[in-house]
Structures are given as structure tokens and as C-alpha cells.
């Protein structure tokens, strides 16, 4: 009698442990998947804030525009009709990149260039105050303009893949489920990151961007058009964040004010990764994704963002320059 009860108890405990480990793995995978998207979202800002040192509070709202651009490409501009409901969303999301890059290019040329780059290089604070006010203004215009244009109804870019999953496993009686849409989102994010890292580290353009970021005056002495380099970086950063927005929109509904929720996460990711480091910004975003998902194991979901910032403060306390911060002095 006694022995049989013990055995049953043992089995129950075994189940509990399995469930716990399974839960941890499930959260880990969810964190990696969302982290990849946060990663490129932060990389977009990293190009603008970390590398070119332009404060841009409208980055979240450019991302919101990216979400709507992908949404309308899919629903209104025929991408859905051509590529079908399964793959159409992903094609639309990729299309949102160049569209928002163009928007970023124009906004930089008309507005941002007046308070950044060589024009303010010799000013105290490098024009940061003006950038702060200008980009907050752009953010307000985009949010309220978005409200007028798109309305306040929650929108989302759904694909049938959003509601199906791959099962990894079972290993040792445990299996982890990967939402198909999120899996593809993460793969796309990683591919974009790899492409961008190659562009920045190997291409002539990438090297010129880095040189302009290192020392804009010396870059001018070399014959590099620093303002053009900044414009390209701004466009690139806006486009990549827009794609990140589209990828998020396959799983999270959005509205015209959604940018505010993400812009703080972006800054945290860039600082966490280390100012000036593109790869660092990606890992910063990844860290935030992981912390957010892992925290759900022990904390109520309302405290997800609090957990992010506690971890952020801890990391910055012990490593103020971030993961990949430059040890080399900027001149």
C-alpha cells in the first residue's frame, strides 16, 4: 500500500519537474524568437542614435508607420492577392522596409539634417536639444496623424501561420512549441541582421558610415560627404525598424500610439549593447526579449517591463559601456 503511494507521488513530482523544465524551455524559445525581432528593432535605432549620435524619439512612430505600411501593402495594395494569405504578410513586411527608408530619407533631408550632422558638429551638445524637441514633435504629428488616417481600431497582420506551431521534440518526454509565424519572423530578423552586419563591416558604404561616425571632420578631409552618410544611415535605420514593426504585427495587434511602448525598449537595447555598436544593439534587443519572456515564469505579465528595466539597471551598473561598448576613445 505504502509503496504504491510513494511510487505515485514520485511520478507526480516527476511530472511537475518536467512541466517546469518544459515551461523554462518554452519561455526561452519565446524569448529568443521575440528577441530577434527586438534585436533588429534596436539595430535600426542603433544606426541613428548609437552610430550617428542623433536623438530620435520618433523611431517608435516610424515603426508604427512600418506596421501600417505592411498592413496596407497586404490588404489594400494587392500583395495579399498575389502572394496569398500565408506568405503575403511576409512579403508586405519586407516591402515596408524600403517604403519607410524613403520616408526616413525625406524626413532627414527636410528636417533632421537641420539639427544634426556637420551643421551642428561644432555646437555644444551637438544639437541634441534641438533634436529632442524636433523628433518629439515629429512623434506627436505621426501619432495623431496616424489616428486621423488609420483610426483607433486595433489592426493586425494575421497569417494562418500565426495560429499553428511546430513541435520541437519530444526530448525526454518534453516538447517545445514554436509558433510558425514567430519562427519565420525570427529567421527573417536574423537574416536581415546578418546582411546588415556584412554591409557595415565589409562594404565601402559601411566603412564610410563607420568613419563618419568615428570622426566626422576627418571623414570630410577624406572626401566623404558626411551629411549624405548620415542621411543613408537614417534611412537604413528607419527601414530596418519598420521591418521589425511589421514582424511584431504578425503576433501583436497595433494602433497609432503603439510606438511609445517600444521606443523606450529600443533605447534600452541600444545602451545595453553599447553605444556605437550595431551588433551590440542586436544583442541588447535580444537580451530584452529574453528577460521579458523569462520573467513571465516568476512574475505577473504586468511586471514584464519592470523586469526589463531592473535587469537593464543591473547590467548598466556592472558594465556601463554596455556589452560591446567601445573601449577606444572617440576623438
Amino acid at each position: 500500500m505504502g509503496r504504491r503511494r510513494d511510487a505515485r507521488l514520485g511520478l507526480k513530482q516527476g511530472n511537475a519537474v518536467t512541466a517546469l523544465v518544459e515551461g523554462i524551455f518554452q519561455a526561452l524559445v519565446a524569448g529568443l524568437l521575440i528577441g530577434a525581432i527586438y534585436g533588429i528593432m534596436c539595430v535600426g535605432l542603433g544606426l541613428i542614435f548609437g552610430v550617428m549620435r542623433v536623438i530620435n524619439f520618433a523611431q517608435g512612430d516610424f515603426m508604427m508607420l512600418g506596421m501600417y505600411a505592411a498592413f496596407y501593402c497586404f490588404t489594400a495594395f494587392g500583395v495579399g492577392a498575389v502572394f496569398g494569405t500565408t506568405w503575403g504578410p511576409f512579403v508586405s513586411i519586407l516591402a515596408a522596409g524600403p517604403i519607410l527608408a524613403l520616408v526616413g530619407y525625406v524626413v532627414h533631408r527636410l528636417l533632421i539634417s537641420r539639427v544634426s550632422g556637420t551643421r551642428t558638429a561644432s555646437l555644444e551638445g551637438e544639437g541634441h536639444h534641438a533634436q529632442l524637441v524636433l523628433t518629439l514633435g515629429i512623434a506627436l504629428v505621426l501619432q495623431n496623424g496616424g489616428l486621423m488616417a488609420f483610426g483607433s481600431v486595433l489592426a493586425s497582420i494575421r497569417t494562418p501561420l500565426s495560429s499553428s506551431a511546430w513541435e520541437l521534440g519530444p526530448f525526454l518526454d518534453m516538447s517545445v512549441f514554436v509558433n510558425k509565424a514567430r519562427g519565420i519572423d525570427a529567421l527573417m530578423a536574423v537574416a536581415i541582421m546578418a546582411g546588415l552586419a556584412l554591409l557595415i563591416s565589409r562594404s565601402r558604404l559601411g566603412k564610410q558610415l563607420r568613419a563618419a561616425a568615428d570622426n566626422s571632420v576627418a571623414a570630410t578631409y577624406m572626401g566623404i560627404d558626411v551629411d549624405r552618410a548620415h542621411r543613408i544611415a537614417f534611412a537604413l535605420g528607419t527601414g530596418i525598424t519598420a521591418i521589425a514593426g511589421g514582424l511584431l504585427a504578425t503576433n501583436y495587434p497595433f494602433h497609432p500610439f503603439v510606438g511609445v511602448d517600444y521606443v523606450i525598449v529600443m533605447y534600452a537595447g541600444v545602451v545595453l549593447g553599447g553605444m556605437g555598436s550595431i551588433v551590440g544593439a542586436f544583442w541588447g534587443g535580444m537580451t530584452i526579449g529574453l528577460v521579458q519572456q523569462m520573467s513571465t515564469l516568476i512574475l505577473p505579465t504586468q511586471l514584464q517591463n519592470a523586469a526589463i528595466f531592473v535587469v537593464f539597471l543591473l547590467i548598466v551598473f556592472f558594465r556601463p559601456q554596455g556589452f560591446f561598448g567601445r573601449n577606444v576613445e572617440r576623438t
Partner: protein
């Protein structure tokens, strides 16, 4: 080749240059000497377009430099090796040299140039993959010179290449410059506080004091001038 005529420039209301006229002919080595604050660096920055002059003109091979945006000027064949070296710290030595070769001529002659630069400044070849920010001051100065040479310049402008370096390393860099000039026939405009060395190696010199050219002449006449001997050469 380079003609600066009655140039005045300064920083918001503080005039630094007051009617400076300087001429550099093709193949010449011209040195501009003078004490701290005489306006030597401001002169260079005006040529490169970082400072906008308030009056006067600068022409390079007949082209009006002041009408061109700063980033176009290097493409005409002007290489500026700036004060304090200003290499790109997070780029490797090789990438720094590539940035020198952004100009059309630099791109065209890249292979030949890089071979010669490594021959003249072998330490750059040894450290080609090292980040420029981790080089010593002397190595950074050599990189800054190499970066300037990589643009295939017609005119090489050097702003105080000896600044902040030990006398031995400064001497070495001067020797290298004289070698490079001998072998390449490059036109050089040098700004320097080490007056003796500068005047010794240059064909022609200008003495700049408080924003004005107070003296000019060829190598011998300047070094024989009593004022130069007293004020700068300590004789």
C-alpha cells in the same frame, strides 16, 4: 598650384587670420611656421572648408575652392593630414587607408599606392589589421600620413606632424617625409612649430604671427634672417 589671397577667417567674431596671402607652386615644399595661436590650423581648416573665411580667396589649380563643398575638395587632389592625427579609432589600419582612398584618384591607384605606403611606412603593413585607436601616437601619425598619401594627392597638407611625439619619433617622421618627397616629387604644405626642422627641409617658408604673414622667403634667406634666428632658432 595653391594660391591663397588676402584670406581672413575666424570663429564667430574672433578674427584669427587677417589678410593672409600664400602661394604654393607645383613640386614645392612650403613650410608655414609660427607660434601657437598664430592661425596655422585655421588656415588649413579654411583650405579644407571646415572653417568658412570671411574674406579673401583660395584657388587650387585654377578652381575656386571656396565655391566647393568641403567634401568635394579632397577629390581635386588635396590631402589634409590633420593636427592631432585624427585617425578613425574603431577602424583597422587597412580600413583607415581605404578611407584615404575614397577619392577617384585614390581608388584608381589603390594597388600601387598601398605598395608604396607600406614600403615607406612598414609599421602600417605589420599592423594592418589592428584597430587604429590602439596604435601609439607615432604609429597613428604615420597612419595619418599614409591615409593622406592613399588619396593620390597632388598637394599634401601636414598640420604639425610632430605634435605630442617624442623628439626621436618626430625626427623619424621628418626623415620619412623628406624621403617620401624625394621619391614622389609630391607638393607639400607643412605647418609646424618645430621651426628649425621645418625650415631646413622646406624650399620656401612663411612666418605667421597673430594672423598675419610677417616674413616670407626661401630656405636660405629665412634661415639667415636675424628675427627668425632670434625668435625661433635660438641663435
Amino acid at each position: 598650384m595653391l594660391t591663397i589671397d588676402a584670406l581672413s577667417a575666424g570663429y564667430s567674431a574672433v578674427p584669427v587670420l587677417k589678410g593672409v596671402s600664400i602661394r604654393v607652386q607645383a613640386g614645392q615644399f612650403v613650410a608655414i611656421v609660427g607660434p601657437n595661436g598664430a592661425g596655422k590650423t585655421t588656415l588649413f581648416k579654411s583650405i579644407s572648408g571646415i572653417v568658412t573665411p570671411s574674406a579673401g580667396s583660395i584657388t587650387f589649380e585654377g578652381a575656386d575652392l571656396l565655391a566647393l563643398p568641403p567634401s568635394r575638395r579632397p577629390h581635386l587632389g588635396i590631402a589634409h593630414v590633420p593636427e592631432g592625427r585624427q585617425v578613425f579609432p574603431s577602424l583597422s589600419v587597412m580600413e583607415n587607408l581605404e578611407m584615404g582612398a575614397v577619392t577617384e584618384a585614390g581608388r584608381r591607384d589603390w594597388r600601387a599606392n598601398i605598395e608604396r605606403i607600406f614600403e615607406w611606412l612598414p609599421v602600417l603593413a605589420e599592423r594592418r589589421d589592428q584597430l587604429a585607436g590602439t596604435l601609439s601616437g607615432g604609429q597613428q601619425q604615420m597612419l595619418a600620413i599614409g591615409r593622406g598619401l592613399a588619396s593620390s594627392p597632388k598637394l599634401l597638407m601636414l598640420d604639425e606632424p610632430s605634435m605630442g611625439l617624442s623628439p626621436a619619433i618626430a625626427d623619424f617622421i621628418f626623415e620619412r617625409l623628406i624621403d617620401i618627397r624625394k621619391q614622389s616629387g609630391l607638393t607639400i604644405l607643412l605647418v609646424e612649430q618645430r621651426v628649425a626642422e621645418a625650415l631646413e627641409s622646406a624650399d620656401h617658408g612663411y612666418v605667421l604671427e597673430a594672423g598675419r604673414v610677417v616674413l616670407e622667403g626661401n630656405n636660405q634667406s629665412l634661415r639667415a634672417d636675424d628675427r627668425v634666428r632670434q625668435a625661433y632658432l635660438g641663435m
